[in-house]
Chain length 352, copies 2
């Protein structure tokens, strides 16, 4: 493997000193880029793009050609695990992901096959190793997975949901069935992330997109508990380096203290919380990632630079900050604006 | 007007002593009740139900026949104001509310007519006075409105939204247009709530359903600021009584301190925050309303009673608690379960 030329991102995750604050953007390989839309058109549908290592590599690298990003993230979908479990993932235009089969009973959970992630999700591992090799040490590669709770919402509801009625009914009527499902998913996520690490991922992020719809005790019991298990089960080193992990719970601002205690190196923040408040609450226990409102990228250069400066000032001095958006970049952002954003992070953080 | 026989709800809002904790449920008149579905079928579509004072009164009283509720809430829609402003509210099955016209520019905002709420929204005022009279002093009647920010999301997006891209674009590209819209809406909401009070509402609640999608500074600038203006503009007394107000921002748990400072008597809590945490943070400055996860009503009697007990204990001793769900009751709850819930609140709080 090539020597890493830019390790700011990994250093910040480990709270080591950096020259400037590293930055990447959730969903940085995506529809706001015309070159992404071209590759996607060549590939056909979305999952064909994910399943072809060359195309997945192509779109992963595209934003790095335009912007001085400090990390690349595997291009894939969060629902690869349930799909490999036989649920039949498909996408309906404008409707988000759907599953042909759903999980509603003890028998449904029992019938979920044990995955051999190296085989059943070989396309993901091929994408990871292809991207890692193509990066040539330019920046580190992030692997990722959905959290067990987030994956379970799609598996039980059969797709996206507004109110999560079906899984919440399961939570109160058959909690043991839900726990069996979550436990199975946690084991699968551990194997999945470890295989991504073996294939070349240099850090991993767990996306808990829907943890924020839970009450405080249910967040602990049905989401955080399983992420804690995952973090504890991760391989600690690859190529002699520590492999840092990030937990990102959207709308998790009320629970920062317990998330910071879950064993990961870094807590991802969405845009609803002030980063100075977050740092006051959890101190220097873990690194923080975030947290500009993605819609600031609709603004002009002054607005973007102003908000970057405000967040850098909010974090304050010391290491342990990875700059990011508080959620994925929107599909209708002008591709000129992320450049303003990313350059502002580097330029303005040099002063801190 | 008849003398009020049960004033627990109003007393709790004013932090006066009560015998047991008062309780009502957001969306208590709704689809989970078969008798509601019958009335709605008679009325035709949803807005016909809202616009007929007798039907609106009928469904408002239905849950009070089944449960020992301590308040009634006007049956209406949050989007009556934009509809009266000429945007053409309609409902598509399974898709939520939509508007024929949207607000996207300075000219669109300028073209919004000034409302004469007593005339343009006479059907709401008729419903309020009809319900107040039919209640005969049994319990107090709550009037309500959407918050300016929440109303604006529908008006700008043209309906419900997942990511609020259009209004967030306006927020960063034409903030002065958005402020002009919000200011116009705040004035309309003040007039609307005051006319509801004159027509018989004994307390009012502002529903800020979508405030939680904002960053902390934007919540202050684009939502809370306007709710503060509304609360300051409310009539202070009717029939010689103080008319208490409640602000409910869904996903507003991070901002409780500033919400509690906005001038209302009570802060509504959703189910994601622990009520003991909320009380620790804002003390006895205002009353608290909430906050059981509505999905607990999918559980059995022991589960429901257990959660009621946990929340009562969380609030602790002293006055100033109105029990409620953290959001509207779900349409597929067994109508037997709210009785367990409401009786448990009265029974278990008698001990506190």
């Amino acid at each position: 493997m090539s020597e890493l030329k830019n390790d700011r991102f990994l250093r910040a995750l480990l709270k080591q000193p950096v020259d400037v604050t590293p930055v990447w953007m959730m969903r940085q390989a995506g529809r706001y880029l015309p070159e992404y839309r071209e590759t996607r058109a060549k590939a056909g549908d979305f999952m064909s793009l994910c399943k072809n290592a060359d195309y997945a590599c192509e779109v992963t690298l595209q934003p790095l050609e335009r912007y001085e990003l400090d990390a690349a993230i595997l291009f894939s979908d969060i629902l690869t695990i349930p799909d490999a479990m036989g649920l039949g993932l498909y996408f309906e235009t404008g409707e988000g992901p759907k599953f042909k089969k759903t999980i509603r009973s003890e028998a449904d959970v029992a019938a979920i096959p044990d995955l051999d992630v190296a085989v059943d999700l070989d396309y993901v591992m091929n994408a990871v190793s292809t991207i890692r090799s193509a990066l040539g040490g330019r920046v580190p590669l992030i692997g990722f997975s959905g959290s067990p709770w987030t994956l379970a919402t799609y598996m039980v509801e059969g797709g996206s949901s507004k109110d999560f009625r079906t899984i919440k009914k399961m939570m109160y009527q058959q909690p043991e069935v839900l726990h069996a499902l979550l436990d199975k998913l946690a084991d699968a996520v551990i194997a999945y992330l470890n295989e991504q690490i073996r294939s070349g991922a240099q850090a991993v992020q767990i996306f808990d997109t829907w943890g924020g719809v839970l009450s405080t005790p249910n967040y602990e019991a049905f989401s955080l508990q399983y992420m804690r298990k995952i973090v504890a089960g991760l391989i600690k080193e690859n190529d002699g380096r520590e492999v840092p992990s990030i937990i990102f719970t959207k709308n998790g601002g009320l629970w920062l203290e317990t998330i910071a205690d879950a064993g990961s190196n870094c807590v991802g923040l969405d845009w609803t919380i002030e980063i100075n408040n977050a740092r006051k609450r959890i101190g220097d226990k873990v690194a923080l990632q975030g947290n500009m409102d993605p819609s600031v990228l609709y603004g002009d250069a002054d607005t973007i630079r102003g908000e970057v400066g405000r967040i850098l000032e909010g974090f304050g001095n010391g290491s342990g900050h990875v700059f990011n958006l508080g959620h994925g970049i929107a599909l209708d952002v002008d591709p000129a604006n992320p450049k303003v954003f990313i350059d502002a992070v580097h330029e303005l953080s040099a002063k801190h």
